[in-house]
């Protein structure tokens, strides 16, 4: 009986694995930033990456959509598969990959364009809208999901760089969801947001989970506990523990995880 249930769970996770990383190593020149990380990220779940500053969360996140390609000194080894396809294979076009795996960066980086053009940027590039009305719809929907529509609906032509830091962060979230990625990587998306906006973004994350898989880096334990189903704890480039969020926060196996969660390392 128990065996059956176990089998069942095993089956379902194996089917639904979206991203699978095997023996991933990342080097910045001589700096070994990610050490032998193995992780399977399930589809239609929210996975949280936690860990002290500088432990490699952003670095690992950037491996998943090959953003590390843009850094000269960065070298990635190992295999990362999305939907069973090795994304570091020569035949994979990183541009296509990034359209599928969207990213919200740690620092808000709106383009020096109007708010509207910022959000419409991805849809325009990928030809998601047939005409202006459709594009308007996409932009409005994305801004609503980014919890910023009410604040900017009267000034869509104003420059995106003129928004406040928190507004810029939500604009970048809206920009990322506008392209309808299958996987959304969010690097500390709420670091500059007030509690209300944070709650709205978390609501968005929950909504996105219905269709996509979301990976979120956060320094807030509460947030990780609130939004994620799975949590990975990184420390000094190692993936120390990866398990169900409940388990990590109530009964972690590794003592480093426990010390971090209870505030002793970090």
């Amino acid at each position: 009986m128990e065996d059956l249930a176990y089998m069942d769970r095993q089956m379902s996770t194996e089917q639904d694995i979206k991203i699978s990383a095997k023996n991933v190593q990342v080097y910045y020149a001589d700096n070994h930033a990610i050490k032998d990380v193995n992780v399977d990220i399930a589809d239609k779940t929210v996975t949280a990456f936690i860990g002290p500053s500088g432990c490699g969360k952003s670095t690992f996140l950037r491996c998943i959509n090959r953003m590390n390609d843009t850094i000269d000194v960065c070298r990635v080894e190992g295999a990362i598969k999305i939907d069973g396809e090795d994304i570091y294979d020569k035949r994979v076009d990183p541009v296509q990959l990034r359209a599928k795996v969207g990213m919200v960066f740690q620092k808000p980086n709106p383009f020096p364009k109007s708010i509207y053009d910022n959000v419409a940027y991805g849809p325009r590039i990928h030809g998601l809208a047939k005409n202006r009305a459709e594009l308007d719809d996409i932009v409005e929907k994305a801004l609503r999901r980014g919890a910023i529509w009410d604040e900017v609906k009267d000034r869509l032509d104003a420059p995106g760089t003129g928004l406040s830091g928190g507004q810029q962060q939500r604009l970048c979230i809206a920009r990322a969801v506008a392209t309808e990625p299958q996987v959304l990587l969010m690097d500390e998306p709420c670091s500059a947001l007030d509690p209300i906006a944070t709650a709205q973004v978390e609501e968005l994350i929950d909504e996105l989970r219905q269709n996509y898989s979301v990976v979120i880096v956060t320094h807030s334990m509460q947030q990780a506990a609130r939004v994620s189903q799975k949590t990975a704890f990184f420390h000094l480039g190692n993936l120390v523990e990866y398990d169900d969020t409940d388990k990590i926060f109530t009964n972690p196996e590794d003592e480093r995880t426990e010390s971090y969660i209870s505030g002793r390392i970090g």
Partner: protein, 493 residues
């Protein structure tokens, strides 16, 4: 006392002031620098500044004012003679100064003593001969009034110089004493030195501004002089440029339009060549090139910027011109008979464009590099390709700087002379044909001022009017560039 020695004395006093001020401050703090308001050396600097700055200021002022006063009082002495002979006062005054200088040299070399100089008499002694002996050739015999004026010129200068030394040293000593007495442990020397630094900076800035102002004013006055001799309306709206070279004036047609047209036409061609190539080179270098390629290619491009324009001119005359004739000339490659001689707007424009490429590319490259990496990441992270990122994110972000670079290049093109002289010919012409010889404002300024024309004739003075027109155009271009940059900034920052 020579000025160098005076300056050295003042500086030496400054050094002494530094030491004394520092000592006094330390003494007042009981030897413990923590009791002081400022660091000990600030007290030293304070005294040193108070000693040197006012004294130097006085010296500069004195050097400016003394010649003015002496000139005006001496010219009173010779004004009668000037009106008698109908010679210009300026000429006589320059004679006076020359005689005075000659007498100075004679005294210095020991040919004459001061008493003998006093006793000189224009009627009896041959002063022209005497001064020729010490190396001062005069154009004519020295008249008695000139000699008298020269004598009093020397006397006044002597008195002035003595008082100058006395006052400057006195000022330095006063500054030293006053600031030394003010020095005690609570004195805010640091703040006072701050103001001293500010004063020096303002002085430097005002020199820069005043020289510019001086140049502009001299342009304006000479232009006004020109417009008195030649109607402004004909200058600005005349369609032909045809100065008479007799030097006697009259019959000259000095319309600026053909020159302006040539300038703008050549600059336009140069920019059409330089902007796309330079910009694309910059994009390649900053966005696509690998580190090794970049480290070789960028310095190479910058070498182009170091080539003197005359070399480009030679290149235009000897290589590009004949090459173009081979292509567009009568028996040319294309079989079209568009070009008869090597010197043409096209030749100069092309070569000038090549000259401007490194200018545009190196400035744009720096600007593109300054666009934050996070902007690129944002675009690439949305699945944009590299060139989409460049076109839609990086170039718009770098646009104000790039526009600035282009307008700077335009200013250079408009002001360029040598390439035009050698590449475009000397014929002022209003024509649309880029294969014809034309000329520009700068080239004509050169040709109007070289050769022995009279500098008060309209043919020479027109150079100033051309110069100021050019100046206004470049100024307008720069203001326009600033306006664009600012407008764009307001929009996106």
């Amino acid at each position: 006392m020579p000025n160098t020695i005076l300056i050295l004395i003042v500086l030496a006093l400054g050094v002494i002031g530094f030491v004394l001020g520092r000592q006094r401050a330390m003494a007042s703090a009981g030897g413990n620098s923590r009791n002081l308001h400022s660091l000990p050396s600030y007290y030293g600097y304070n005294v040193a500044c108070a000693t040197t700055l006012p004294a130097m200021g006085l010296l500069i002022l004195w050097l400016l004012v003394q010649p003015l006063i002496i000139n005006s009082s001496v010219s009173g002495l010779v004004s009668d003679q000037a009106s008698e002979e109908g010679a210009s006062l300026d000429l006589i005054m320059s004679d006076v100064r020359r005689v005075a200088d000659g007498l100075d040299t004679a005294v210095e070399t020991g040919v004459l003593t001061e008493e003998e100089v006093e006793a000189l008499d224009a009627e009896q002694d041959d002063i022209r001969d005497l001064l020729a002996g010490v190396g001062f050739a005069l154009g004519s015999d020295v008249t008695p009034s000139t000699l008298e004026a020269a004598k009093s010129y020397r006397a006044m200068n002597e008195v002035g110089d003595t008082w100058k030394s006395v006052f400057v040293i006195a000022t330095a000593l006063t500054g030293l004493l006053v600031s030394w007495r003010m020095t005690n442990k609570d004195f805010r020397a640091r703040n006072v030195v701050e103001q001293g630094v500010l004063a020096i900076l303002i002085f430097a800035a005002s020199i820069a501004i005043l020289t510019t102002l001086g140049i502009v004013l001299s342009l304006i006055f000479n232009t006004m002089e020109f417009f008195r001799l030649y109607p402004a309306s004909e200058f600005f709206f005349g369609l032909s440029w045809n100065p008479s070279f007799s030097g006697r004036g009259g019959g000259s047609e000095l319309g600026i339009l053909p020159l302006l047209w040539g300038t703008l036409y050549i600059s336009l061609i140069a920019l059409i060549v330089a902007v796309p190539i330079g910009l694309f080179a910059a994009i390649y270098l900053s966005e696509y090139a690998s580190k090794p390629v970049r480290s070789v290619a960028k310095p190479l491009l910058e070498v182009l910027a170091g080539i003197p324009t005359i070399v480009y001119g030679l290149f235009a005359l000897l290589t590009v011109g004949p090459l173009l004739v081979e292509v567009f000339g009568q028996k040319g490659f294309l079989g079209v008979d568009w070009m008869s001689g090597g010197t043409a707007v096209m030749t100069a424009g092309l070569v000038m464009g090549i000259m401007l490429i490194p200018f545009v590319s190196s400035l744009s490259d720096d600007i593109i590099n300054a666009v934050p990496q996070s902007m690129r990441d944002g675009s690439l992270g949305l699945g944009a390709t590299h060139s989409e990122t460049v076109r839609q994110v990086i170039l718009p972000a770098a646009l104000p700087g790039i526009v600035g670079a282009i307008l700077l290049a335009a200013s250079r093109a408009i002001g360029e002379t040598m390439i035009v002289v050698l590449g475009a010919g000397a014929a002022a012409r209003l024509s649309m044909n880029p294969f014809e010889a034309m000329t520009t404002v700068t080239a004509k300024i050169v040709s109007q001022l070289t050769g022995d024309s009279d500098f008060s004739s309209p043919e020479a003075l027109v150079a100033f009017a051309l110069g100021i027109t050019l100046f206004v155009i470049t100024l307008g271009l720069n203001i326009f560039a600033l306006y664009i940059v600012r407008k764009y900034r307001e929009q996106y920052e």
